[in-house]
Symmetry: D2
Subunit: 371 residues, 4 copies
């Protein structure tokens, strides 16, 4: 199975309707954090603003449910409402067909015939769907991304509780399939608990036997890390010698750990402010060409909000951003699917098995047909 | 069905073992936010510290996974690790049987025979469990709490999407069954969307027909509230005339809306910093005598961490804190049950139906046997 | 909220394509239970066979995945493959647009504008959908069906485990909202356990306290009923004085209890042969105008297979058959929704609450606006 | 990881209480299929009947919720109520401690210390549990069983929908890890659909593209098999050349396909009568030393009812019967766990991944440490 990105077909702005479209209107922000009436809100799709006759400008680094700010020199920036400042110029208009000078392009990518049924029947993905093809498709995609893309992983804590899944993820990091990672406080905490004490929530990580004082283990991990001041210090001093977080530090993979009200500790690196966390998460999300979310509803939806369905590359080319949501529950996995993008996939399974199986597939591909 | 609180039976400190127990040891904090080695971590159960021979002091306002700080005049405070400051004196010891001068009392409450099976068989609560008794038990409990307790509700956004559930919850507020409320940004946002536009996520809240520009509705609600500066302003100016948030303002019920990385907007009242949010949430949680969590894993677990299984009343009496988790999934509902407290209940159902059914039961009781 | 059935619009057989369509072909069965090559299989939609020029005959009593047998006098019968006999004439053709003399009419019903979004967005029904409207819609539907239709209920055992749900269902039976019932062995067994011993799976049905020898209760119920020889005998002799089964017998509501490999006992009435059970179930299903399935995947899918989306009334009028699936899991509830019929609804909740809430709504309507 | 079966420790019948226990009482059946009053019902545990002073007889081939029939020569047989005949002698007594001459031995097996936590904390198995150890434990168990046991697989249809899972299961059959198989009509139907047409429910089994006339594919498979008269005929004539069913026929592995009311067709081999199906299923179940159930609630519970927690081997030795339930939902997986046997395990994942991962682990073990 070889891989090729679907090609992007820009809108035809020479059609009568679009050629006759008005220019995009803008209005000034009157109060910090508040958009002017009739503001335009962005979607996950490529959007074009009509800035001068015949000059339709594609938004870069877009995301859902934001507004478009026009900079001094005409540069367009997609920003969260909370980041608006008095005097900013914000795009107006709620029609997406060009009649407000804004065109939302929902059908830019032509996918190979591999998934015509998605159009035809919109059949739901459930636990009874076949996923062999998805594993293979994702493998070929990741091989491509390793060279030419940016794979952002979004992890719930479950991955840290299982020996084989942890080991498989570490190999993914080492072999170049992880360019960035988003998580909360729990994933690194339990991964560090495993690295420091060999336990997960107070049980041996492999045999699951409870250890003495087990319910202290994750608190001890947090307390130790807080004392050392940083994960990097713990790695450099040799206290943390294996695991997911260790691999990230070793390979200098950027990560963001966003704080939440559930947290103990927290770890020193955790970003306490939800919106500061959004900003740092989005700094990674805007680089992403593929996003893979494992068993975390909070972080999956947060990242889904930040990740548009396309990316404008340095050379101006437009490519899709793929978004995978892996979860045990249709309810959770379908939340993102419901956004309607063809670049979104749900895989219904336990993330432990998902990571182990995916990594084995990648390894087999690496070793070639003789393996 | 009448109601009586289970009585609390303190430990017998005259037993040989406890009488001979050492005094609690304390050590100084050497670095802000870091507990000294061998720190003692708290549980959800009543805990006693042996401060002077025969003087066992019960922790008040306790919570799970914290440390005990001894104040100048011997006062004991249960604090999060992150709140420790250099020089603070922190209790040490990891044995819970008194041998470290700390006694954790897991069996203080004698429940009436109503739930002996919990001990006998530990049968799981599942969707096939019968819940008629739980509804009635909760009704009698809430009648009691309305006079003598503090009922804290923890709400996911689902409640705001349904007309009847919203109306039922508003009646609960008006009739005195709600003393405090915890939620994220989504619950008030969608409740305000309903109050302002009659929609839920862009559809008519009752008939579910999509309205024009539906996907702008929640953004418009957020933008409007941000412009007005506060929910209270929106209520006072008459823009928000009904709904959950309106009822809270009208009845002056305290609430905390904690920010998260999923948020759009956010609303002006939302607390951005996760740990500042924890502090304000805990200020309500420590007043709670009953906690009812509806369809929110994040806030349920966060509140569960903050809510111990007991409360020391003003007169020194000790009573249980009841904790209800209502969810559609055994996985979510059982997370809290797994803590092992007898004061915790799971109810497996849709929270819309739960609120409607509970409120009807309370109303029928109010109207008396003739109704 | 008043109610009116959507009107049925037959196909226009005068269009050029249909006017020129060939007659339906038929072939003889060569072996019992085996359809001839190129057989036509039925769907849930109205289907017309072209028997003579201009004579398009609508199938009555249709169901999914069956074949069409032509009787001696031209009568058409939709039959299961297993019921075919040597020499039977079976309709051929796999095109549904008339080109094989068969026309499948998927858009015959014009629904009021109440659910246009189903076409527009195909938004999934999940646990977070609002259901107030669905309860009201179903109430108005049931009021109509009580006079003019046939409401078939399909019950999993969960309903028998809860006091309030049982009582509410009994009132539904007594008040005329139940015309037929399908279930397995477990529903009547546990309902009879409750009637005989006041227990559910060996616990008090209301207070859930385990009783002595609890695990014998359902076996004793089965053994007692097997000794008496029939449920009717148990009711007539006064041993069974309340409950779901009692109400069915009292009101002479027809029921089918289909056996399965899970069964203990079984009860005397249970049909052991799966296909004989299908036949008796279908005899009820073909009378149904509304089907309501509660928390049973096996029986819901089985009944869904037997229930087409329309019914030809005695006077030749065509009306829709409504199909409700109530379950806690999107996976289960959506199985039927996936069939694509507009007459199918999923409600995500606990069936205990569903029955209690629905019955209260119907009662309130019965008592009129003053209640 | 090496493997050793836990040893069985019979009860000590020389204790005062058991030595003084009365003999088991028996009573005659008065009516076919009806047990006499005070009948004893069996459990999943080893049970001993006191037939003569000091002669405690262990039940062989036991199962839950049955009665004990005493044959002419004193032989004891555990039979379903429905199989009782007038005049049969049935054991009486509802106490399990010997006081009725019946002793139920719940703690006969001494497990290595690998799972002490099961006793200590009764922690629930959920989707967040670690399963690396369970995979390895099961691998070592299956290696042992291949030589010395009988592994019975119980399959839902999901396995037949996925290319890699089907292939992995075929390898399990070929490599000797499958001694018997239980399923319904759907599993073989969709496996044969795949073998005949390369589709699963009308889509290409690997790429999931819909094929023309896709909804006829499973009906065509059924019709073809019904014409041929048997699966074996289809294999022998070369029409079915691969897949699960093909591997079973090829390796002469016994299977039972039990009919249900959901069935289309059915296939010729399917047993229509639920209780005849129980009898043939139990004939396999009584040979089983390990049972592995994949994603089928109906068949899992049915088989669980038939499979006791122990087996008496030909030489009189007693060994445990292991029971694995693999499912995506805690609700389903925990149903069996709730029986309380230490020999029962739940694994929460997608069965596709489970089979692929298990088979890879077994293959790696086969190839030895150098692989």
């Amino acid at each position: 199975m070889s891989f090729s990105l679907p090609t992007y077909h820009p809108p035809d702005f020479t059609t009568a309707k679009l050629a006759a479209a008005p220019l995009t209107r803008f209005a000034r922000v009157q109060r910090d954090g508040v958009a002017p009436p009739d503001y335009h809100a962005t979607s996950i799709f490529p959007e074009y603003l009509h800035l001068a006759p015949g000059d339709w400008r594609l938004l870069t680094d877009s995301r859902m449910d934001c507004v478009v700010r026009r900079g001094e020199k005409g540069a367009l920036e997609v920003v969260e409402f909370r980041r608006l400042r008095c005097g900013d110029r914000v795009a107006l208009g709620r029609h997406e067909d060009g009649s407000d000078g804004i065109y939302v392009h929902t059908s830019g990518f032509r996918f190979a015939e591999q998934r015509p049924e998605k159009f035809a029947f919109r059949t739901l993905t459930t636990r009874e769907s076949s996923f062999s093809f998805d594993y293979d498709e994702l493998s070929t995609l990741l091989e491509h991304e390793r060279e030419a893309g940016f794979v952002l992983w979004v992890l719930g804590p479950a991955l840290a509780f299982d020996r084989d899944a942890r080991a498989a993820f570490v190999r993914l990091v080492r072999n170049g399939y992880v360019q960035g990672l988003l998580a909360g406080n729990a994933l690194p905490t339990h991964d560090l608990e495993a690295a420091l004490y060999g336990t997960a929530l107070g049980r041996e990580i492999y045999r699951k036997r409870p250890v003495a004082g087990g319910h202290y283990k994750h608190l001890d991990a947090l307390n130790t890390l807080r004392e050392l001041g940083s994960i990097e210090a713990a790695v450099k001093r040799g206290l943390v010698g294996e695991g997911i977080v260790h691999a990230l530090v070793e390979k200098e993979i950027p990560y963001v750990f966003a704080g939440s009200i559930r947290d103990d500790g927290p770890l020193p690196e955790v970003v306490a402010d939800a919106y500061a966390a959004q900003d740092t998460m989005r700094a990674l999300a805007r680089r992403a060409t593929t996003v893979i979310c494992l068993a975390t509803q909070l972080h999956t939806i947060a990242t889904g909000n930040m990740a548009p369905s396309y990316k404008v590359l340095a050379d101006g080319a437009v490519r899709p951003v793929f978004f995978y949501s892996v979860d045990m529950s249709e309810f959770a996995a379908q939340k993102l699917i419901n956004r309607g993008s063809l670049t979104t996939r749900a895989i219904l399974t336990n993330v432990q098995d998902f990571v182990v199986t995916l990594e084995r597939g990648l390894k087999a591909r690496d070793q070639g047909p003789g393996s």
